[in-house]
């Protein structure tokens, strides 16, 4: 177990969407800087868009939408708890980012005049830009990494960040999951882009890796930011998605909606007005499933054969291309069959909901020199394009931050204690396999944290998580690959605990199903029109506190505020 030492100016952790863009933009702005991009997989095929992306969910294209409209819609969809400055920072760069990606060779749908073909899926405005040929996006990004001379290191799982004596970021520590080498990276700025906590709840299939998110996104970044002293935000605003049952991939109303597909209950009736993913929509979805009107289906069988073929050419080719194989195995054909849907297990994700590491409009966390971008940061509903934009913002700001700075002074003890923690499961003679602990932990997450969030259940959950924390002392890994899984279990446990603690702290219901607490049935704006933040306290335990919602750039009208609370179709519409 050798230790490898690396020194760089800017370290970017996570090679999916935001990370490569942060690294490219840092080098583009300052070519003399040493920029290193790490991933636990291979940057060529890492992250949520490993196989491609089938649509931009939040394109703000002049003529279709304005930054003001978009920021307001996301504010409403999030029941008002947003930092509009951060969402606006995305919105004003959205169109330029699309054009830049377009110039790199990424394909977006255009109409016959060459204009971007924007579709309406959201409740209010039009922001969806299809990417029927979005399967090669990673290849175009990878070419730019090479062009701008970004150094890349694959198969490194980062386990903890290094913090300097003066409180600013000092680098990170990682495990090489192939060689078992311990790697210490000193950096003046760190950009964390490790994605969502997608391996938090257990899919109902019971398959640990049958998650909606890329299962490499185990919540490592949440855990690392937390242990580095950064503020986490909106963790109680869980990610829960309407997915294809068992396959656990998107159904995907964003793609099918513009073609005429929609969601129905067992009677074939529409029950939600908008298929755009929001907590309010998910609450109606859950009520339908639980209220005896389920199952819920994606309905496409009324569409013309050639339309269905077009849909198949997107859904079975780009984002999750094994989908066609799944349907084939079950004998499901969109032309004659409905597609059974269900509710996903819980996760944490800024990109789909709003649970992430707190960042301001410059992608800065509360730890000096530490940035977060992509699904990991709390910029609500930011999706893929928001990840690219916040990656850009973080990379460019980090370049300014490192000017004139030396590496922070650190206490070597941090490195020694982390080394000990990382290798303990490998050195132990015998013990419990990481996957067995992970299975039990994630089953408990389902049992005690899946909404509706019941106070006494979450309290029991915390007791179970504490007991599993003790079990980690017996975790046994047989090789570096299993050791990577063991380190992920630590991160999943941190996420589970923080999710329970933040959920218990907010004593109201908000964001539809994402934070539905039957013990506090109503939304309470008087006491809870605030962010709930979590930070590691002096006692080493998570501490909750509130952060005011910054004054809006674009105030909402009274009649706009509750638009997303009226998701249910008033009288069932026969299909």
């Amino acid at each position: 177990m050798k230790t490898r030492n690396i020194e760089v100016d800017v370290l970017v952790i996570g090679g999916g969407t935001a990370g490569p863009m942060a690294a490219i933009k840092a080098r583009q702005k300052s070519p003399q800087l040493k920029v290193l991009l790490l991933d636990k997989a291979n940057v060529k095929r890492a992250g949520a868009i490993a196989e491609g992306m089938d649509s931009v969910n939040n394109a703000i294209i002049p003529g279709y939408a304005t930054p003001e409209q978009y920021v307001k819609e996301i504010t409403i969809a999030n029941d008002g708890i947003v930092n509009q400055a951060a969402i606006n920072a995305y919105a004003i760069r959205s169109h330029d980012m699309i054009r830049e990606l377009d110039s790199w060779g990424v394909k977006f749908e255009k109409d016959e005049t060459g204009e971007y073909a924007v579709k309406k899926v959201h409740h209010l405005g039009s922001y969806v830009l299809p990417m029927p040929e979005g399967y090669d996006i990673k290849k175009h990004i990878f070419k730019k990494l090479r062009k701008f001379g970004v150094e890349v290191s694959n198969r490194l799982i980062t386990t903890r960040l290094l913090v300097g004596r003066d409180g600013r970021i000092a680098g990170a520590m990682a495990l090489d999951s192939r060689s078992g080498e311990f790697v210490v990276i000193r950096a003046k700025a760190v950009v964390l882009c490790t994605g969502s906590a997608g391996r938090l709840g257990l899919p109902s299939s019971g398959y640990l890796f049958g998650t909606y998110e890329n299962p490499t996104n185990a919540g490592d970044g949440y855990s690392m930011a937390y242990h580095a002293g950064a503020e986490l935000s909106g963790i109680e605003c869980f990610q829960i998605n309407p997915l294809i049952k068992d396959y656990n991939g998107p159904a995907c109303a964003y793609v099918t909606g513009p073609f005429g597909g929609y969601t129905v209950n067992a009677r074939g009736e529409r029950f939600i007005k908008s298929d755009y993913w929001s907590g309010q929509m998910m609450l109606e979805f859950w009520r339908e499933l639980e209220g005896g009107n389920g199952p819920v289906y994606l309905k496409l069988d009324h569409l013309a054969g050639e339309t269905v073929s077009k849909i198949e050419n997107v859904l079975h080719v780009t984002e999750r291309p094994s989908r066609g194989l799944f349907h084939e195995g079950r004998g499901v054909n969109y032309r004659s069959d409905l597609v059974e849907m269900h509710i996903s297990e819980i996760g944490l994700c800024g990109g789909h909901s709003a649970s992430g590491v707190w960042v301001d409009e410059s992608a800065r966390t509360t730890v000096p020199g530490l940035y977060a971008a992509g699904d990991l940061c709390n910029v609500a509903h930011n999706y893929m394009l928001g990840a690219f934009v916040f990656g850009q913002i973080a990379g460019e700001d980090a370049v300014d931050y490192v000017v004139g700075k030396e590496q922070a002074q650190i206490d070597e003890e941090q490195i020694e204690s982390e080394r000990e923690r990382v290798f303990a499961p490998l050195l132990r003679a015998e013990g419990i396999p990481p996957t067995q602990i992970e299975y039990k932990l994630r089953r408990m997450v389902n049992d005690y944290l899946q909404p509706p969030k019941v106070t006494s259940k979450m309290e029991i959950g915390l007791q179970r998580f504490a007991a599993i924390g003790e079990d980690l002392k017996q975790m046994k890994a047989n090789n570096p690959h299993e050791l990577m899984r063991a380190m992920e279990v630590y991160a999943i446990l941190d996420c589970a605990e923080i999710a329970a603690i933040a959920s218990l702290y907010r004593t109201e219901s908000r964001w539809g199903l994402y934070h539905y607490r039957p013990d506090f049935e109503e939304r309470n704006d008087q006491d809870w029109f605030v962010f709930v933040e979590v930070k590691k306290g002096a006692d080493g335990r998570p501490q909750c506190f509130t952060r005011p919602v910054p004054p809006y750039i674009y105030p909402l009208d009274e009649n706009e505020r509750d638009a997303y609370s009226k998701m249910r179709v008033d009288t069932p519409l026969a299909a």
């Binding site: 890796f209 890329n214 299962p215 291309p321 067995q436 899984r485």
Partner: protein, 77 residues
Amino acid sequence: MTTYETRGLVNIIVDPGKCIAEKGCRVCIDVCPTDILILDLGNGKVRMAYDECWYCLPCQHDCPTQAIRVEIPYLLR
């Protein structure tokens, strides 16, 4: 459970007649996000070592000889 080396039914099927790993090809091993494909030292071909597949398909799509077929994992089928 999942981390033991898979001895039963695997859902990533490698055609040993087409796989050219013994010539140094490592494409599928490199692109797999969950790092579950390994070189079998017995026959010099690639095989699935961990039941941790996201059925995402880069291994199948990037294989230069079309030697890989990914099936949906049994629990989800």
